[in-house]
Each structure stands twice: as structure tokens, then as C-alpha cells.
């Protein structure tokens, strides 16, 4: 029974991973891609790891996959934040659909 629940979790994670990579292809600029990909792929991989924990139970591999969930939830948003700030400082423009950019306005004021 609990194996079936784990396999359902793995299935949901696969669907979210796939939609995240589709967003990486379809969306127009760096920031939108970063948003879609980081959110979907992080939660999808966490769901796959939780399904692994449910299938293998309280063994060495299960506890290590729980540790891996904690590492991912702590590190993935920080990496996304660093890449977004670096891209904006390097001068990557927003897409032409975007309507407001307060960060560029405030940075112009400083210089």
C-alpha cells in the first residue's frame, strides 16, 4: 500500500519536472525562465525524493533522501537569487512585454 503512495508521489514529481523544463524553453527572458524552472523543478525533485523515502522505508537510502530534501530546499532559492542579481548587474534586459522596472530606476539614482 505505502509503495503505491510512493509511486504516485514519483509520478507527480515527474510531471512537475517536465513542466518546469517546458517553461525553460517557452518563456521569453532570463528572469521568467528562472522563476518557472526553479519553482517547478525544486518541488518536483523533492517529491521524487519523498517518494523514494516512502518506497525504501527507514533504511540508509531513505534517511539520506530526507537529508537531500533539506539541502535542496535550503540551496535552490539562494542559487536562483544569486543568478538573478548577477544577470541584472551584468546588464541583461527584461523582455519587451514587461511593464515596470523599479530596480533599474533606483540604480540609476545611485550612480
Amino acid at each position: 500500500m505505502i509503495d503505491i503512495i510512493g509511486l504516485i508521489f514519483i509520478c507527480i514529481g515527474l510531471a512537475f519536472d517536465f513542466f518546469g523544463c517546458l517553461g525553460l524553453v517557452r518563456l521569453p527572458d532570463v528572469y521568467n525562465r528562472l522563476q518557472a524552472a526553479t519553482k517547478s523543478v525544486t518541488l518536483g525533485t523533492c517529491s521524487i525524493l519523498f517518494g523514494t523515502f516512502l518506497v525504501v522505508g527507514f533504511t540508509a537510502a531513505g534517511l539520506k533522501s530526507l537529508m537531500c530534501i533539506v539541502f535542496l530546499l535550503l540551496t535552490a532559492p539562494v542559487a536562483a537569487h544569486a543568478v538573478a542579481r548577477g544577470a541584472h548587474r551584468a546588464g541583461v534586459k527584461l523582455a519587451k512585454e514587461s511593464i515596470v522596472d523599479r530596480y533599474a530606476e533606483d540604480k540609476e539614482g545611485e550612480i
Partner: protein, 123 residues
């Protein structure tokens, strides 16, 4: 109008590939007498499809930041590979590779974003 046509072509292609993966019996590279091996073999192929979309963005990306984002996402997806391989081959050391890959990929992404920002690494 052009957008709708491109969307429908892409949707038909992706639905065809996913249906092929689910319906047709692909050759499985693992041990065929373990439990759930049918489902997990198909899961491996779905993950390979997602990684192919990532590789498209790495080759095509207009700026360097796009490539860095795609490499980061690729690294997170390899952890998913390691988790699926842990169940489907019943070897518990695959998840060790996953943990090491999570930490190393995080540090690599931080270094690449510092390089993108155009500063030194000592900050």
C-alpha cells in the same frame, strides 16, 4: 496566429513522444526481475525527455545567464535520476552521488553567478 500554429505543432510532438514512451515496451537496461521495474523504466525515459529540453536551452541560449540557469536546472534533475536509480537497481549508494551533486552544483552556480557579475571571488 503564428504563435498558435507553433504551439499546436509542439503540443502534437510532445504528446506523441509521451504516448510512445508510455505505450510501447522500450528495452529496459536494468534488472528485469525487481518490482515496479516497468513504471521506473518509463520514468527514466520521461526524465531524459526533460533533460533534452534543458539541453536545447543550453545550446540555443542568447545570453550567458540563460546557459547558467539551464546548467543549474540540469544539475537538480540529475538528483532525481539518482533517486529513481536507487529504487530501480536496489543499490543504496546512488543517493550518495545525489547528495554530493546537490552541494557541488550549488557552489558551482554561486561561482558562475559571481563571474557573471564581473567581480572577484573573495567577496
Amino acid at each position: 496566429m503564428k504563435k498558435i500554429i507553433r504551439w499546436s505543432i509542439g503540443a502534437v510532438l510532445l504528446v506523441t513522444i509521451i504516448t510512445l514512451i508510455i505505450v510501447r515496451p522500450f528495452p529496459f537496461l536494468f534488472y528485469p526481475d525487481l518490482p515496479y521495474i516497468g513504471f521506473l523504466g518509463r520514468a527514466i525515459y520521461v526524465l531524459i525527455l526533460a533533460c533534452a529540453l534543458c539541453l536545447y536551452r543550453i545550446f540555443r541560449g542568447p545570453t550567458g545567464a540563460d546557459r547558467i540557469v539551464a546548467i543549474d536546472i540540469f544539475g537538480i534533475m540529475i538528483i532525481g535520476f539518482c533517486a529513481v536509480l536507487t529504487i530501480s537497481t536496489n543499490r543504496s549508494w546512488y543517493i550518495d552521488i545525489g547528495i554530493a551533486w546537490a552541494l557541488q552544483s550549488f557552489i558551482g552556480t554561486l561561482a558562475l553567478s559571481k563571474y557573471l557579475e564581473g567581480r572577484g571571488f573573495d567577496e
